[in-house]
Amino acid sequence: MPAPAEESLTGTFVLVQQIRDRVRVPVIAAGGIGGAGIPSAALVDTGSFEVDGADTGVHGATGPRAGQPGGAGSGRERGSVVAVPVPNPLCVRSAAGGDRARAVGDLLLWGGQITPVLKYRRAEELMVALVEEADAYYKNLKNA
């Protein structure tokens, strides 16, 4: 049995390094990466980065817990959403309270742990910025 989510909150970069040392396949780091996180992820040699914030930022989903692990509404602790898929109270409040979160179907996922540092709301702009920030970081490394 895997450990319950609340007992397995190891940070992305610690976890990625542990996995990288034990597998031969490329590792994809995901969750809370954002622009500045790309060089960090590259330094632990993951090979790729999954930017959930790109999705949540573009859709404008934010939650009361932005900047923290997703909690009961995230896939991480999906086990806490039991038997009948209904929105958790936070999601309903958020949808009603004019928050930008999108209440869809009968399940709403919180994402966007990196949203506090997210500056872009359009995917094109975000992609360009991610690449530029990583480029700038490596250029600085060479000049140092």
Binding site: A54, V86, P89, A95, L107, M127, V131
Partner: protein, 156 residues
């Protein structure tokens, strides 16, 4: 360059940047195609889609981008018990969540219709349309499904 990595080469993208493929109708063709066209790997979460809907989304993605994109499925894709949700369980949850729906002025969702989507049916479509990337979460597909992925990739 920093972006010339094993996985970028494997997936055929310029940058090793993947857009998270949210399921539950949160994905859009426009977002996925935009990311792919910008050199990343756009993703579309398909776990709530019927097989025919997955084929339709894939056709739209193919029209919107000629770059690699990712279709995502949940292997274990529902918490609904095998024989469906009992009326008693539904009423229990309804009672619990009623105040929130009342406050929000929202109609309470109907009891979920069973059966939920079957991963086995969904993945068959993914195999047929062969996106550059098929990703999965909440479990590992059967060995024969993974072998079929490799076989079809070799024969592309």
């Amino acid at each position: 360059m920093w972006y010339e990595t094993r996985i970028a080469k494997l997936l055929g993208s310029t940058y090793p940047i993947l857009q998270g493929p949210f399921g539950g109708n949160l994905s859009t063709v426009k977002l996925a195609a935009t990311v792919s066209n910008a050199g990343g790997v756009g993703g579309y979460g398909c776990y709530r889609l019927a097989p025919a809907e997955i084929a339709k989304i894939d056709a739209e993605l193919k029209r919107a981008t000629d770059k690699p994109y990712n279709l995502n499925l949940w292997v274990s894709n529902s918490d609904v018990p095998e024989h469906g949700v009992t009326d008693a369980a539904y009423e229990r949850v309804k009672e619990l969540f009623r105040p929130y729906f009342e406050e929000a002025g929202l109609a309470f969702p109907e009891k979920p219709v069973t059966p939920p989507m079957r991963f086995e049916d969904q993945v068959q479509v993914v195999l047929d349309v062969m996106p550059a990337v098929f990703s999965f979460v909440f479990g590992v597909p059967a060995a024969d499904v993974l072998e079929e992925c490799r076989r079809r990739r070799r024969n592309r």
